[in-house]
Symmetry: C2
């Protein structure tokens, strides 16, 4: 079956600080049309970093859309849409946790909510860490915590950890660790 939709019209409703909002008209496979709302974002990265004591570096952060403090792995958005994701990951890990990793590996892309969001999150794992000072963005307030991998997986399975990239990247880290690949 042909599933493709074609852009017929496109209109920017908002061009903002972090996101843009577009409203398009799309041609569907059956010849009818539909409205498609699209949130554009420059893309982001996250890093699931494992210490030599098998702990994962986590940041506790207030997330405004949920009015809630949640636990996440270090992450951030790209400065511009051509920034190299790996370089962005190295920077965000350092800024938020003070850590530098000798060993960084790709854990795949994440599409947060593909019905209406165009953001890509590049996920990385990291081991062989050394620590220096943190330097978060000026409008960013966070606490750093180290949580044992097994405890964190339990928190993910129990529903305590809600962030999508954190659940995915940490479960991948656990899978690789169980297989002896990291």
């Amino acid at each position: 079956m042909n599933l493709e939709e074609k852009q017929l019209k496109s209109e920017y409703l908002y061009k903002g600080k972090i996101i843009n909002l577009r409203r398009d008209e799309a041609l569907l496979p059956n010849g009818t049309t539909a409205l498609r709302e699209v949130v554009e974002h420059p893309g982001g990265v996250c890093v699931a970093a494992l210490t030599d004591k098998n702990e994962v570096l986590m940041v506790k952060q207030f997330r405004y859309p949920y009015s809630e403090v949640i636990l996440e792995i270090p992450a951030g958005k790209r400065d511009h849409k051509d920034e190299n994701p790996l370089e962005c990951g190295i920077r965000e890990l350092k800024e938020e946790t003070g850590a530098t990793a000798k060993n960084l590996f790709f854990l795949g892309k994440l599409y947060p909510s593909p019905g209406y969001v165009g953001e890509i999150i590049w996920m990385y794992g990291a081991t062989d860490l050394s620590f220096g000072d943190t330097c978060p963005d000026e409008d960013e307030f966070l606490d750093v915590e180290k949580i044992p991998l097994e405890t964190l997986v339990e928190k993910i399975m129990s529903g305590e950890i809600k962030d999508a990239k954190t659940q995915t990247a940490v479960l991948k880290l656990k899978y690789l660790r169980d297989k002896g690949e990291i």
Copy 2:
């Protein structure tokens, strides 16, 4: 450390079909203010459904923001923001795959991209399936596939599966299956 941000001003820039866009001014913990862009969404559900042959029900769907056909578990948004997530999950599973499950269990909430999106995705697992007809929404075109759980986990680990809810819910299903809990 106090991490909380307080809403000072709030303005709707767009009230749409699926999403709303708000631009707020927030008071930060250090007394300064920052702009917060928030995408509101009624919330959604997804269902990782396992057949008695250990296959996961998947749908292949064109996702307009990425101009790409991707593989996902069945999912959908709530009809309104008070709809019971479990009932929504039962409906979406039936509509998209024709399946009805005797055993449904909660796999936790997912926050897709908590910096600017307020959507909650309730994740469910399902077993003991029986099959009838599908009835997708009129502007929804999709192909249903069954993929063995182990093959799907490999596709997730290799980066082939990009959807956030699918990666998370299937890795949780795999964890529970390996533990003998489902």
